[in-house]
Every structure is written in structure tokens, then in C-alpha cells.
Symmetry: C2
Subunit: 305 residues, 2 copies
């Protein structure tokens, strides 16, 4: 029987390290500064942005919040991004995604100065990651690497299977694992027999957005399983399939008619894996902690110029 793999300790380590580095920066007269841009009123985005701003405050990182109308045009947003690019007091720029449909997301991302692109989504940073050059790397996969480092696993030679090929998680995750000398396989919706390939993995990272897809039949005895998926379940049949009847989670579902659930069938996976990260309370904490680390890194690099 596997264990719950809490991510809290790693998230706290990342936050503490950032806090010390913020102090060092301030001693040099540099106040790390994240500019957060939110367009429109997406309720989930508002929660994310508010959490990011609060976490900045708790570490002594200055944050400024730019709230724009839902009707903002691509050109208007580009102008604001460019002001932030040229504002020497700003070290990190985060434009909260998704953007309203009239905005060309790819033009906005490409418009951010790469050295301030704390999300690591700019093509230059994506390229640098692949080439092994210094840059800024997307927060979720970097946070997962920190978790793996803390668990003491020897990554070199490990077979890692990444489930999902998104630009935000799957692809950068694969690059980071490859750089850490893992053998890397990427499986996705078109993969034939995904369970068969995944069952060979020493490490599974699931980031595909399909609740409970990865169950015990996908998992080798003793594998490490990282669940990056965050899906909202609102369907009784699915809830009953995935959540043990007598669990707190099911009680919460019955009360609220909804519950967050990962890409891994947690109860099933625990039967074979060595460790499985929970959802919620897992990788999510790492993402925001790593965002802070990226802000600090950007400030260190820009401040030393």
C-alpha cells in the first residue's frame, strides 16, 4: 500500500529559500517586484491572482496589480506589457491566463521581455529550456522537480512517463526530466495502449485533464506518481467511480455537489504506487512557491546587470 505524497514541505522549502533571497536582494538595495496583469472578471483567475499577490506580500516581494477591462484589445494589452518591460523597477511580469477571446494570447506572451517572463511561456524561454541554456522555466514542472529532489529519488536512468503534452506542463516536464537524465516517454490522447507503456514507468507525471484516468492498471508496483491534474467533478456517477464511499472527499462532494479531483485515480493508484501526490493539497502548492522562486531569480539576474 502506497503513501500519500504531501508537497507541503517542498513548497515551504521553496518559499523559505525565496524569503532569504529576498532579504539578500533588499540588502543590496533591490526590491523584487512582480507585476500581475488580470484582464476581465474570470472568477477562478481572480482567486489565482489574489493568491499570488498575497504570497508575494508574505515573502516581502513587492507586487503591483493591473486590473483591465474584459474588452481590452491585444494592442492595448501589448502597450501595458511593454511599459512593464521598460519599467526598471519591475522584475517579473505575469499576465494571468486565460485571456478573453479577442486577445491574441501568443502575441501577448511573445511581447513580454523574456527575462521578466516568470511563467516561462515565452518562446525564447521555451527554447532555452530545450537547449539547456539559463532562462525561466514554467512553474509547475519546476515545482515537480523540486519535489523529486526532496524525495531523494535517483532520477538518472529512471523511466519517466509524462501523460499529456501541454505547453504549460507536459512538454516542459519532459524537457526537465530529460535534462535530469531520465528516459522519457510522452503519452497522450492518440497513444495506443497508454496503460501498457505507463506501467513501465518508475515515475509517472499525469497532466492531461481527465479525472481519474491513471488508475492502478497504469502503474508499476512501487512507482512514484505525481498528479498535476485539477479537474472539477460535478457528475454523481463519476464521483462514485473515483471516490471511496466512506471518505471525507465523498462527504464533501455530497454536500457541495462538486469536488476537485486529479488525473490519477487516487485510491486505486495507492494500491500499487510507492507514493501518490494528492489533489487538492498537492502540486498546486508547488506551482505558486516556484512562481515566487522565479520572481526572485528574475530580480537577481536583472538586478545584477
Amino acid at each position: 500500500m502506497g503513501k500519500r505524497w504531501p508537497c507541503k514541505a517542498t513548497a515551504e522549502r521553496l518559499l523559505n529559500e525565496s524569503k532569504s533571497r529576498v532579504t539578500e536582494l533588499k540588502n543590496k538595495g533591490i526590491e523584487p517586484h512582480l507585476a500581475v496583469v488580470l484582464v476581465g472578471d474570470n472568477p477562478a483567475s481572480k482567486v489565482y491572482v489574489s493568491n499570488k499577490v498575497k504570497t508575494c506580500e508574505s515573502l516581502g516581494i513587492r507586487s503591483t496589480f493591473h486590473k483591465l477591462e474584459a474588452t481590452t484589445s491585444t494592442d492595448d494589452l501589448l502597450r501595458i506589457v511593454d511599459e512593464l518591460n521598460h519599467d526598471a523597477s519591475v522584475h517579473g511580469i505575469l499576465v494571468q491566463l486565460p485571456l478573453p477571446p479577442q486577445i491574441d494570447e501568443s502575441r501577448i506572451i511573445s511581447g513580454i521581455e523574456p527575462d521578466k517572463d516568470v511563467d516561462g511561456f515565452h518562446p525564447v524561454n521555451v527554447g532555452r529550456l530545450s537547449l539547456g541554456e539559463p532562462g525561466l522555466v514554467p512553474c509547475t514542472p519546476m515545482g515537480v522537480m523540486a519535489l523529486l529532489a526532496d524525495c531523494g529519488a535517483e532520477l538518472s536512468g529512471m523511466h519517466a512517463v509524462v501523460v499529456g503534452r501541454s505547453n504549460i506542463v507536459g512538454k516542459p516536464m519532459a524537457q526537465l526530466l530529460l535534462k535530469a537524465n531520465c528516459t522519457v516517454s510522452i503519452i497522450h490522447s492518440r497513444t495506443k495502449n497508454p496503460a501498457e507503456l505507463c506501467r513501465q514507468a518508475d515515475l509517472v507525471v499525469a497532466a492531461v485533464g481527465r479525472p481519474g484516468l491513471v488508475d492502478a492498471s497504469w502503474i508499476k508496483e512501487g512507482a512514484l506518481v505525481v498528479d498535476v491534474g485539477i479537474n472539477e467533478i460535478t457528475d454523481d456517477a463519476l464521483a462514485e467511480k473515483l471516490i471511496p464511499a466512506d471518505s471525507k472527499k465523498m462527504a464533501a462532494y455530497r454536500k457541495n455537489g462538486r469536488v476537485l479531483y486529479g488525473d490519477v485515480h487516487y485510491a486505486s493508484a495507492l494500491g500499487r504506487a510507492e507514493m501518490v501526490t494528492p489533489v487538492p493539497g498537492g502540486v498546486g502548492k508547488l506551482t505558486i512557491a516556484q512562481l515566487m522562486a522565479n520572481c526572485v531569480l528574475a530580480a537577481e539576474r536583472l538586478g545584477s546587470r
Copy 2:
């Protein structure tokens, strides 16, 4: 028994297509123009550069050749690259690698205007490839994709194993196969049991620089095998291990004391694979044909601005 997989027809198709597109460009008053920069006197580089220039001529692509002293500094080379960046008559810039040790290769590659970077090595182009955005893609992996398209294989859902993780072949190859909906595994020197994983592949692309590494024990019955490796063998024992005693290749080795050999143990692999590309006379032809296609593409894009 598998078949020799000649790449000549695909290379000719690519060259013919480029030729027509050159004619269309000239009809619009645009003469596609490749600038080739060679630093120093590396004999292999001189041959490569000369082949590239000749192939340009045969298609009606203008080429200019910039031959620089072996002692050229990074800053001097950057200045020349920047002149070419700003020369509106130039559509493609190719700095022949490797560069002498005093030159910072990564600064030079990053100094080329991405839209003229016909090698596809600039971080922006590497990032665009990963993100699925239009850019310029390294020639060898793009040429392999053209070969695969011509053989009529249904790539979607195929398990492709890429042997090697170089920036020039392995990584961009994996990105292109992933984009074509293959399941992709990347194996390398640290992989445990590489043969076991490779034996699951419907398609193997070997680009690791180890002569004859991939033999029948790595290959599934009926797999497609693309050999990107070009290694020079000068060792009798290795030659005898890899090359059939009564073959023309062995006769050539005995005569010259050297022979070119791929990463695939050709005779052994043919016993299990459906098709195997030969070395030489295989993928090499695709690379230069795709370089021409990249030049034409760059001219089309820059010319239409």
C-alpha cells in the same frame, strides 16, 4: 527480410518543390538569397559548405560565401552576422558549425535574426517548434518527417523511439513526432535497458553517434528504422563486427582504411525491420534538401512583408 530505405526520391521531391517555389519568388521580383559563413579551415566543414553553395546554384538560389579567418573573435563574427541580419537582400543565414573554440557558439546562434535562421537553432525557433508556432525547424529532423510522409506510414498513434537527445537532431525530432501524434520515447546513454524499450517502437530514429549501436535486438519485427548517425570507422575489429565480409562496403574499408557507418547495425537490423535507411546515401541527402526548403520558406515569409 527488410528493405533498404532509400531517401533519394524524397530528397528530389523536396528539391523540385523548392525549385518551383524559387521560380514563383523570382516572378514576384524576389531572389532567394542564402549567406553562408565559414570560420577557419575545417576540411569537413569546407565540403559541407561547398555542397550547400552548389545546391543553391542548382535551384537558382543566390548564395554568398563569407570565409573568415580561424582567429575571428565572437564580437567580429557577431558584427558580420548583424550586417547580414540587416541586409534586406539576405533571407537565410547559415553559420557553419562547429566554430573555433574561442568563439561563443551560443551567442552567435542567438545573434542570428530568427526569421533568417535556416538551421533552426535559435532559441526562438526551438521554442516555436515546441509551442507549435510557425518558425524554422532544424533540417535533419524536418527531412526525416518528409521521408516518413512519402512512405505513407500513419504516424498518429505510432510509438516512435528517438535514440539520442542532441539539440540538433534528437530533441527537435521528438518534438516533430509528438506534433504528428506519435507516442514518443527518448532514450540516451543513461537509459537502462535501451534495447527493451526500443524493441517496442514502430519507428526508430537513431541519432546518437555510436556506430552500429542499434542492432536487431533493439528492433521490433516490421519496424521502420531511420539512421541519422554518420560515424567514421577506422578500427578493423569494429569494421569486421559491423560490415559483412563479402560486401562492397568491406572492400571499400579494406582499400581506404576508413568507411562511414551509421548508428544502426545495418545488416543485423535488416533482419527484423521493414525498412532501414542506409549510411551513407540516406538521411544526409534529406538534410541538404530541407536546408534549401528552409531558405525558400524564409524568403517567402520575409519577401511578403
